[in-house]
Symmetry: C2
């Protein structure tokens, strides 16, 4: 019995270590997204290369979290919300790793964009970037604070990201139709916009898992979505 | 003691149930990818809609696997390779769910493609589709058979998918440059090619997790990649 408080404390310590690794991983991918957006806004090669390089750290943290989670599951027999939290951490690292990949991909593409004497406006992309960055920050806050209410807020906020994406998609296709010299850059920008939209989706996945870990309940299977499809009529009306 | 064999058997039964749910989930997403490719090849609306609808089933299976995995972890205290297999299942469902999403997305886009009197050839996309389908099938076989050798084979085979993607990307941009009327369909096709490439990446993730679950070792952090970047020189040489 004398050892019991020690064991309990040690499980808490290890769970605390897991949480701090998750917070660290979240901080890095937030930073990667910020760097990738700076790379677009300012054609900042250093930011782009820094976003790219941090991918290795994220991949290593994913493996480390997995190792610690397996250790906790094997040796500590965690139950109820602790168990849900460890399982959520295993899934969330996958989302964070993908967000890091998308940020690295945006950073690489950013250096290949030429806006051709201002023909192509990047203001829509920048606004979308800020919104995605904000949602990501809030989803990581919900994770570190295990806050189900904040999780629900972010879950609803992704709708606006989808709407931005649709508007941006239309705008970029219009630039391509107007002048074939825009095709190269707009193709890169289309993928950048898609990557941002995917980062928003992964931020949503994170809060879904946080919500489940904290409450033991799932959010509804369908999230309200912004209009991500363009109808044939709209295409034909160009 | 009299109960021990019963408990042991029952853990095996529950692990068997987890395996059969994973195999079922793998089978559905394989089928979704096949339907999505049929939707492209034959403009088959029924196939497209069927690919799309199976997403719900995949999402439900992901939740069911998670529920059963948590149950096994909480009540059975699995160790060593059993524990690794359950953790791998939790991660692999995420990959399978994404593959299903990409297949649904390809199916939706397929109906918006117009090849304009054969100006745009889909043969490259079809070849890439067959290769991705083949890699996915083999990665799911590696999973159901817990076969580390097969896992390593698939892991190497993804390089060819990356090469197809790069070639296809170039081809599609050329069609757009040749005739602005191709821009609409080629934009959809670019995203379809990207989705196929991502399905290939997720098949690679699956075999990485299978390899770890079976051997307790990680595959190297870097996979040999096909050329997925197009250099500025190549762009400029158009």
């Amino acid at each position: 019995m004398a050892d019991k408080p020690h064991i309990v404390k040690s499980f808490e310590q290890e769970l605390g270590q897991l949480r701090s690794m998750m917070a660290q991983m979240g901080g890095i991918v937030e930073n990667q997204v910020a760097l990738a957006l700076a790379a677009i806004a300012d054609r900042d090669e250093e930011a782009a290369s820094s976003a790219y390089q941090q991918d290795l750290e994220v991949d290593q943290l994913e493996r480390d979290v997995e190792g610690l989670a397996i250790r906790l599951l094997a040796l500590r027999g965690p139950m109820a919300s602790d168990l849900r939290e460890i399982v959520a951490a295993l899934k969330i690292t996958g989302d964070l790793e993908r967000i890091g990949d998308y940020a690295a991909s945006i950073a690489r593409k950013s250096l290949r964009i030429q806006t051709g004497e201002g023909q192509i406006s990047l203001s829509g992309l920048r606004s979308m970037g800020r919104l995605v960055q904000d949602n990501l920050r809030r989803s990581i806050d919900a994770m570190t604070q295990r806050d189900a209410n904040r999780a629900t807020e972010v879950w609803h906020a992704d709708r606006a990201v989808d709407e931005y994406y649709t508007a941006l998609f239309r705008e970029l296709v219009t630039y391509m139709l107007e002048d074939p010299r825009n095709i190269r850059s707009c193709t890169e920008l289309l993928f950048i916009a898609k990557n941002l939209e995917r980062i928003g989706d992964h931020a949503t996945n994170i809060v879904e898992r946080v919500y489940y870990a904290v409450t033991g309940e799932n959010l509804p299977p369908f999230r309200p979505r912004g209009g991500i499809e363009i109808s044939d009529q709209e295409w034909d009306a160009r």
